[in-house]
């Protein structure tokens, strides 16, 4: 089953002389349960691809269907609902809310969706990512690896259709990076999620089911 379908998606930044192609006629599909790596040079359009797929940036043209819904047709409010229910983001810089504890950060997407957190499920995620002892800590009391695991836990909290990770190990040393990626992949498999992962690390990329290469905003090979 296709979880993502992109048809002729283009993203252009700026106008006229200052036009820059972020994405150039990209079409692809991702299956449910797949782990896909996106690789490419800096500025090749990897992040743009992830952003339009996750509904945090709008494409200039083309069609993006995620979990059966054409997200290019949604307004701001519908887009917010789409993001919190269908997408889990993991960023290179963790992006945790500094004033909230680990547990509060993790349950945030559920609260934003006006639902009550499922305690058992949150426990399961905390355990999977080795964060049980850290639940009351604030982000600045954690190591980089722990912060990124918290961010992953948050991405999993709403049981989204799609997890989008933008260089999640970019800020970590190789040992911690390896650990985080392993945990991410295990969690995704265990919870039957779909993962799109941007990485510079070719070893990490190879562990995915499929590698998408991107250069100058175009897919070069799959």
């Amino acid at each position: 089953m296709d979880i993502v379908t992109m048809e002729h998606v283009t993203k252009v930044y700026g106008e006229n002389d200052t036009r820059v192609w972020g994405l150039h006629d990209v079409s692809l599909t991702i299956q449910k349960g797949e782990i896909v790596s996106v690789v490419g040079a800096s500025g090749s359009g990897k992040s743009t691809l992830l952003h339009v797929m996750g509904g945090v940036d709008a494409p200039t043209s083309g069609k993006i269907i995620v979990d059966g819904k054409d997200i290019t047709k949604l307004n701001d409010e519908q887009m917010a609902v789409f993001r919190r229910r269908k997408i889990g983001f993991v960023f290179q810089a963790y992006h945790l809310i500094p004033v909230l504890s680990v547990e509060e950060n993790i349950t945030m997407p559920i609260l934003l969706d006006h639902r009550k957190p499922d305690k058992e499920y949150i426990e399961q995620i905390l355990e999977m990512l080795g964060l049980q002892d850290r639940r009351k800590h604030l982000p600045n009391q954690l190591s980089g690896g722990q912060q990124q695991r918290t961010a992953i836990a948050r991405a999993l909290a709403n049981r989204p259709s799609l997890i989008l990770a933008d260089e999640p190990t970019g800020a970590l040393d190789s040992k911690n990076g390896k650990e985080v990626i392993t945990m991410l992949q295990n969690s995704v498999k265990q919870l039957d999620q779909t993962l799109v992962l941007i990485t510079h690390n070719i070893d990490l990329a190879r562990e995915a089911d499929r590698i998408i290469r991107i250069a100058d905003g175009e897919l070069v090979e799959e």
């Binding site: 945090v56 004033v99 997407p109 609260l111 934003l112």
Partner: protein
């Protein structure tokens, strides 16, 4: 909704310095405007109380014409009943004054006893709490506690006021020798003082009892204090010295005074004087309010500034909340709630400090320093001012937070998060 509340509280608590500075701005603004307005209000009531002009601004005192043939302008039961029918008049009270000489314990005083209706007596500020009793036909006096200035010791010529400077005059229960009129054969009697009137220079009694009493002591002679007609005999009805016309409200007073004067009565009201004081107080309040306003504007700019900095500083957090799928209006609400709470917190602290300024600084220290009577209230913060200032502070916070909060909700999530 719960998470917004939680975020808000956590933010206020964890960002201590910013919270402190913003709140301080509001505190200064609220404190200056509330204290200054409080001083304005306190001064007004204090000035009015000093002049004794508060409370009875709706009263008009009229005097009838006794001399000449303008008998129609004499104040009689008939003419007063007519006045009572006038538009804007709520009541008319006759006043029957008789010149008297009073003697008690070696003090002699000259003055007037004024008979007024019992219902008017009931509105006066008596010193001793008494049960309202049925009139028993005995004439009793209510004496102003400032009347000491009219009494002199017949041996040394010293006034009662001089001799008992530090004591509040209280002749309650005393029996006074009263002479009605200043002639050697003027009728005499003994009257008891039943209560003292606070802050008054007058002596009152019930008019109906007074009439019976006067008739009794006059016997077959002319009633003391009553004018005689052209052929030297008494009129058939009572002629009052003056009357109090009570207007329905303050706004009706001026027109009523004019109408009474046009009708031939001599009429005067406290209102003119009160208006003058109000005018002076208004100028004081404008000056004080102006200074407060400047402080307030400065503090609003302060809140706006801190809120804006706060929003810029949290751009990434805002972006993140949007990426996580926060509803735009919830995000707006989060920031406005935070701004409103900072405003409210500042308002409450500012109000508390204003009470400190009013009660301790103005009403205690300044009063003591300027050697004013201890119960002088230079500053008063009424409940409405307290409530209004806190509401206003909340509103101020929300308004100051509006622009940065709107900006926050319009941010594109990905731009914000990558900043």
């Amino acid at each position: 909704m719960k998470w917004i509340w939680h975020m808000c509280m956590v933010n206020i608590r964890q960002r201590g310095i910013r919270t402190g500075l913003t709140v301080l701005g509001v505190v200064i603004g609220v404190m200056s405007i509330v204290s200054l307005l409080g001083i304005g209000i306190g001064l007004r009531s204090e000035l009015l109380a000093l002049t004794g002009a508060d409370g009875n601004v709706t009263e008009i005192r009229i005097y009838g014409i006794v001399e000449g043939n303008r008998k129609d302008k004499m104040l009689t039961d008939r003419s007063l009943a007519e006045l009572e029918e006038w538009e804007g008049v709520s009541a008319v009270y006759p006043v029957l004054s008789v010149d008297v000489m009073l003697e008690n314990e070696g003090f002699v005083g000259y003055g007037q006893i004024m008979g007024v209706p019992r219902e008017y007596l009931a509105t006066m500020n008596v010193v001793h709490e008494t049960d309202p009793e049925e009139p028993d036909g005995r004439l009793e006096l209510l004496m102003g506690n400032q009347t000491g200035v009219f009494f002199f010791r017949n041996t040394t010529g010293q006034s009662y006021e001089e001799l008992y400077e530090d004591e509040e005059m209280d002749w309650t229960g005393k029996r006074l020798d009263v002479t009605f009129g200043f002639q050697p054969d003027s009728p005499k009697g003994k009257l008891s003082v039943t209560n003292m009137l606070d802050d008054s220079y007058d002596i009152f009694c019930d008019i109906d009892t007074f009439k019976q009493y006067l008739k009794k002591i006059a016997g077959t002679d002319a009633v003391p204090g009553q004018p005689l007609n052209a052929d030297g005999s008494s009129y058939q009805e009572w002629i009052y010295t003056s009357a109090i016309v009570k207007a329905e409200d303050v706004d009706a007073v001026d027109a009523l005074v004019k109408k009474l004067q046009d009708a031939g009565y001599q009429a005067e009201s406290n209102k003119e004087f009160v208006d003058y004081i109000e005018h002076v107080v208004q100028i004081i309040q404008i000056v004080l309010g102006g200074i407060g306003m400047i402080a307030l504007i400065v503090s609003v700019i302060g809140i706006g500034n801190t809120m804006t900095t706060a929003v810029y500083e949290r751009t990434r957090e805002i972006g993140l909340l949007k990426v996580l799928g926060c509803d735009p209006e919830e995000l707006l609400f989060l920031f406005l709630l935070e701004a409103g709470m900072l405003g409210g917190l500042g308002g409450i602290i500012g109000l508390a400090l204003s009470y400190g300024v009013a009660e301790l600084l103005m009403n205690k220290m300044v009063v003591a320093w300027m050697k004013l009577p201890a119960d002088t209230t230079l500053a008063v913060i009424p409940l409405w001012l307290a409530a209004a200032s806190v509401c206003f502070a909340v509103l101020m916070g929300v308004l100051a937070g509006m622009i940065p909060a709107k900006w926050a909700t319009k941010l594109k999530p990905i731009d914000a998060i990558l900043r």
